[in-house]
C-alpha cells in the first residue's frame, strides 16, 4: 500500500512538472509580457516587476524562478486587469464554481443511483428501456446545448427559475442541474451494468435462499457491492464537471472560475488562462490520485501494487 501511494505520488509530481514546463514554454511563445504596456506602469514599477518575476534574466533562470514562484503558490499577474494577481482572481471566483460543481455531483449521484437501480431491478421492462434512453440522451447531448435549452425554456419562457446571474441561492439551481446531467447518465449506466452483474452472483442466490428479505438482499448484498466500482468513474466525472463549468458558467453568467477562463480567452489574458489551467490540472491530478487510492482501499480484490490497468479514462 505504502509503495503504491508513493508510486502514485511520484507520477503526480512528474505529470504536474510536465504541465508546468509546457505552460512555461507556451508563455514564451505568446506575444508580450504582463508588463510590456508602458502606459500602465512607470519605469520603476516595471523594473521591480521584471526583477520579481525574473524577466530580465536568461530563459533557464526564468524557468526556475517561475517554478519557485509556483511552489510558493504564486501564479503571477494578470495581463489585462491592472495590478491584479492571478491568485486573487482565482480566490474570489472559486466559491460559485465549487458550489455548482458540488451540487451537480450530489444531484447527479443521487438521481443516477435511483435511475440505475430501477433500471437493473426492472431489467428488460419499459422502466429499464426508459432509464437507458434517458441515460443515452444525457451522455450524448452536449452540456452547453442542454444548458442553453434549459435556460430558454425554464428560465425565459416559463420563468420557473432565474435564467442567469448570481444573486441568491436560487440562482445556483439551474447551473447545478445542467452540470448534473452527464453525471446522472454516467452513474445510471454504470450502476445498471454493475448491479446486473452482481444480481447473477452465487452469494445473492445464497442470501435469497437463506430467506433474507428482498429489500435487505438488494441493499446489503447487491447495492453495496455494485457501488464499489462507481468510485472509478468519479475521476472522469470530476473532469467532465470541470469541463462543464467552463461553458455552463458562461451560459448562466455565474461569476466562477470557468467564466473567468472564457472571459480571459476573449481578451487574450494569457497569464490568467495559464494560471487557471495549472489550477485545474493540479486539482484534476489530485482527484485522480485520491480516486486511485480510494479504489485500492475499497476493493480488496484489486491488487494494489500492480494497479488496475484497463483503468477508467
Amino acid at each position: 500500500m505504502v509503495k503504491f501511494v508513493i508510486q502514485r505520488l511520484g507520477y503526480m509530481v512528474v505529470t504536474l512538472l510536465i504541465i508546468i514546463t509546457i505552460t512555461f514554454f507556451l508563455m514564451q511563445l505568446l506575444p508580450g509580457t504582463p508588463f510590456s504596456n508602458p502606459e500602465k506602469l512607470s519605469d520603476r514599477q516595471l523594473e521591480v516587476m521584471n526583477a520579481k518575476y525574473g524577466l530580465d534574466k536568461p530563459l533557464a533562470i526564468q524557468y526556475f524562478t517561475y517554478l519557485g514562484n509556483l511552489i510558493q503558490g504564486d501564479l503571477g499577474v494578470s495581463f489585462q486587469s491592472q495590478g491584479r494577481t492571478v491568485n486573487a482572481m482565482i480566490g474570489e471566483r472559486i466559491g460559485p464554481s465549487a458550489l455548482i460543481g458540488g451540487q451537480g455531483v450530489v444531484i447527479g449521484l443521487i438521481l443516477g443511483l435511483i435511475l440505475g437501480v430501477i433500471s437493473a431491478l426492472k431489467h428488460n421492462t419499459i422502466f429499464d428501456y426508459g432509464a437507458v434512453f434517458i441515460a443515452v440522451l444525457g451522455m450524448s447531448i452536449p452540456s452547453f446545448v442542454f444548458a442553453a435549452l434549459m435556460q430558454y425554456y425554464i428560465g425565459v419562457q416559463w420563468g420557473l427559475l432565474p435564467a442567469a446571474l448570481w444573486k441568491d441561492y436560487s440562482y445556483s439551481i439551474m447551473p447545478s442541474l445542467a452540470l448534473s446531467v452527464l453525471v446522472i447518465a454516467t452513474v445510471a449506466r454504470f450502476i445498471r451494468s454493475e448491479m446486473l452483474e452482481v444480481l447473477g452472483q452465487d452469494y445473492v442466490n445464497t442470501a435469497r435462499a437463506k430467506g433474507i428479505k428482498e429489500v435487505t438482499v438488494i441493499l446489503r448484498h447487491v447495492l453495496r457491492n455494485a457501488l464499489i466500482p462507481v468510485v472509478t468513474v468519479l475521476g472522469p466525472l470530476a473532469v467532465s464537471i470541470m469541463t462543464g463549468t467552463l461553458v455552463i458558467e458562461k451560459i448562466f453568467a455565474v461569476p466562477g472560475l470557468g467564466e473567468q477562463f472564457t472571459l480571459s480567452i476573449l481578451v487574450n489574458d494569457y497569464s490568467v488562462i495559464l494560471g487557471i489551467t495549472l489550477f485545474y490540472s493540479a486539482l484534476f491530478i489530485f482527484v485522480i490520485f485520491i480516486v486511485d487510492i480510494l479504489y485500492g482501499i475499497l476493493d480488496p480484490r484489486i491488487s494494489i501494487g500492480g494497479g488496475k490497468k484497463d483503468g477508467t479514462s
Binding site: Y11, I22, L30, V136, S140, P142, F144, L149, I265, Y280
Partner: protein
Amino acid sequence: MAHHKPEITDDLFVHEPLEEGKAEELAGTPSNFWVEAAKRLLKNKGAIMGLITIIIIAILALVGPLMNQYDYQDQDLIRSNLPPLVTGMEWMGFNGEDSHGTNVYAEREVTDAPAWFGTDEFGRDLWTRVWKGTQISLFIALTAAFLDLVIGVIYGGVSAFYGGRVDNVMQRIVEILVGIPNLILIILFILILDPGITSIILAMVITGWVNMSRIVRGQVLQLKGQEFVLASRALGASNKRLMWKHLIPNVMGPIIVTLMFTIPTAIFFEAFLSFIGLGLQPPLASLGTLIEDGYQEMRFFSYKLIFPAIIISAIMISFNVLGDGLRDALDPKMRK
C-alpha cells in the same frame, strides 16, 4: 460378491431419435465472423436507427449546401434575421413569423426563395450554413478519429510487439499523458496555433490517440499468448491464415468500437472549443460556432439555436447508440 456378467445383446442398443433442431445446428457451416456480427447488429433496432440517422445526416451535409441558391458566406442585409419558412410546412412552425407573430417575409416584401432554416443577422442562409457546418464538424471529427486510429494502432502495436524495455518506456509515457487532462492540453495548443480546422484537429490528436493505443496494446498482448493461436499454428495454419482468421477479427472489434466512441467525443470537443471562443473563425461555420451564434440571440431568434442543436444532438446520440450496438455485436464478451 458374485461375479455376474450380464450378456450385452444388440437389442439393448436403441437408435436415438433424430432431433430436427440438432441436425440443422450441426449441418450449418460455421459462418464468417463478420456475417455473424452483422446479423447481431441488424437485430439491434436502436443501432440500426442510429446508423440510418448518421447516413442521412452525412448525405445532407454533403448535398444540403447545394440545395438552394445561397452560399454559406453570402451576406444580404435585406434578408437578415428571416425566420424559417417552408412552403407547405407552415403548420410545423416553418411559417416565416418572428417571435411577435408578424410575417417578416410579407412585411419586408421578400419574394425570392424562402430560407428553410431562416437567416442570421447578416442575411446568410442558415440551411446552407447548418449543413456546411455539419460537413466541417464531421470532417474534423473523422480526420481526428482517423489520425488517432493510425497513431494508436502503430504505438500500441509496437509497444506490445517488442515488449520488454521498449514497452516499459512507451507505457510510462502513456501513463503520464493519461494523467494530463486532455481538454487543458487542447486549449493550450489552440492558444499557440491559430484557431482553424487544422489546429483543432492537431490539438485533439495530441492526446486522443492514447486511448486507442492502450486498447490495441492490450488486445495484442492478450492474443499473443492465447492457446487458440498456438493451436492453430500447431495445426499447420499459415501466417496469413493466422492473421486473417484469428488476429484481425479479434483486434478489429475493439478498434472499431473505440473508433465509434472517438467520433462523437471529437464532435463534442470541436463544438465545445467553438463555444468558448477557441473555434473556427467566421465566415467558416461548424456546429459549435452556429450553436454559439444562435445562443447569443436565442431569446428573439430561437430558430438560430434550435436547428444546429438538434443536429449535433442527433449525431451524438446516433454515434453513441451505434457504438453500443457495435460493441455488443462485435464482442459479446464485452456486453454490458
